[in-house]
Symmetry: C2
């Protein structure tokens, strides 16, 4: 898996170094807008020049850098963890939601909405050190497959987005993930999947506590939520961890609205982009009515805000990093 | 001020490029330990080699990178802000502590301990955007002087520590501040004072909230504490924001104990350092009994932990960046 990911990164790198930095993007308005923005803000002769230190680009993860259907991939991890924990100690299944989750009865869990998802995540992510948790995620992702499509999850990152990340880094942008998902879950995959180091992942957090265990200082994950990095939480998370207003933001749902608004309402040049899932044939098609990745307000207000709607079916020649 | 700081940075840079990377450190065991550690972990032929991405070095700020007597410098800023706010609206002085603070009656405030300090900081830091707050700090620091010594605060950073930061960066370490002080206060000064960007400052935080003001997305500081980055909070803050266990930690008080312990109890090579304020003539002398920067447990346990006690009077040829 590591070898595969390195080869994916190599393809992205080679692409960025060639004449066309975004070969998996079809020629058209979206690709032109991205390249034009990057060329302008990196041109010292431009009135819109942005120095390298301020070239902060932020990306949502689920539905923006990799797929998010039929449900966020972290939830599949949580289910597998919950099952393994319940096999060792059935008494942890304290509610109907948790008992349904452990049986794989997704319909009952989904009917419980966000509260039920959070309950499953808490029961499966708590009372473990961050170091052990990240090891578990890495072991799991190496073989995990999407239950709907059968694709390995590591191959469900988007090739055009890997190219964009590489292109921006070649142009001295820093590329950050700002995810509603759990910060330690995404950190565990972000190096191999996207070439992004742990400190450039901003995300939702459970409470943690410092403990010395067998003489070694460890960070324990506790069963309470400390921070939800979604909607208005995204600019807050950016301000806490980055401390600079981004100049480029890329999302796909209304959970990213405030992040795009924060990015594009500052002084100076900026670019906001929304990935519209329009491709039922190669990926999934969903927007205003979806239970995951709902995009409604973003579609209504993108024109007035000057944000680019990236139409997956139209704008991407290739979808998946793994084919 | 900016020109001065740039010239200071230039001196540090030149020093690091010369034969002696730490010219303001006296020859001896402390300097030898630092250079030996850096040379070992950056040597690809060494069994203790650490790749650049993992060369994370963390520094306390108050009492480690700049002075902290007679009280944390952020507190002087808070007093000045409180006075300015009270002049505009005296009704904000709702308690004896706040009324004493606004009159400059430090004794009364100090007698209230940490709770009183926090009360003053909250009353002076809330209901302002992060952007405006950082502008206020930068305006203030440009002229602020230490009430006890009369030195400009910008000249009270430690020259040997500026040299160490530059040396580590030259050797591909990332240098992070992990401060009990307010994250946005320290971010506002860290670029000019230390060459450290906002995202490499971890610190205490007030609650913040995203708001759109006159069409611009802003982060508002609220009057509640969200996170105290001190003692066990330091490893937690490091795990949240950096996501890697550091290999070098430098502090000066028992508030840094857990940060050093977390750093030096992992697998692989690491270095823990404590600055001991032993120099009443050039700086200040304090440790076990001090109300600010108390160092007691650190002195007792440094030998068993293998931490280096840096003795300011003995180990530093020069103290201040400004002379």
């Amino acid at each position: 898996m590591r070898a595969l990911m390195i080869s994916v990164a190599f393809v992205a790198l080679s692409a960025a170094a060639s004449a066309d930095p975004l070969p998996s993007w079809t020629d058209g308005a979206s690709k032109d807008a991205i390249i034009s923005f990057v060329e302008t803000v990196t041109d010292p002769a431009s009135g819109d020049y942005v120095p390298p230190d301020a070239r902060v680009a932020v990306f949502d993860n689920d539905g923006t850098l990799w797929a998010e259907q039929p449900v966020y991939f972290q939830f599949f991890f949580a289910l597998d963890q919950l099952r393994a924990r319940a096999a060792a100690d059935p008494s942890i299944l304290k509610s109907d939601v948790l008992r349904a989750a452990a049986k794989g009865d997704l319909e009952t869990v989904m009917a419980g909405g966000t509260a039920a998802l959070v309950e499953v995540v808490m029961a499966s992510h708590a009372d473990i050190t961050v170091a052990d948790f990240e090891t578990e995620v890495q072991k799991w992702i190496a073989t995990a497959k999407n239950p709907k499509t059968g694709q390995p999850l590591t191959q469900m990152t988007y090739q055009p987005m890997l190219e964009l990340l590489g292109y921006l880094r070649d142009e001295d942008f820093s590329t950050w993930i700002v995810t509603g998902g759990g910060i330690n879950f995404v950190r565990a995959i972000a190096g191999d999947a996207y070439g992004i180091p742990p400190y450039q992942v901003v995300g939702s957090m459970v409470d943690t506590e410092y403990r010395v265990i067998d003489g070694v200082g460890q960070i324990m994950q506790l069963p309470d939520i400390a921070f939800i990095d979604d909607k208005g939480g995204k600019p807050v998370g950016i301000a806490r961890q980055i401390g600079l207003r981004p100049v480029l933001a890329f999302g796909n749902s209304d959970g990213d609205f405030e992040m795009l608004e924060y990015t594009t309402s500052g002084k100076g040049p900026s670019l906001g982009l929304i990935l519209h899932h329009t491709d039922a044939e190669r990926e999934f098609a969903y927007d205003r009515e979806s239970h995951i990745g709902k995009l409604d307000r973003g579609l209504d207000e993108s024109a007035s805000k000057g944000w680019i709607i990236v139409d997956m079916a139209r704008d991407w020649d290739v979808v998946w990093s793994g084919n």
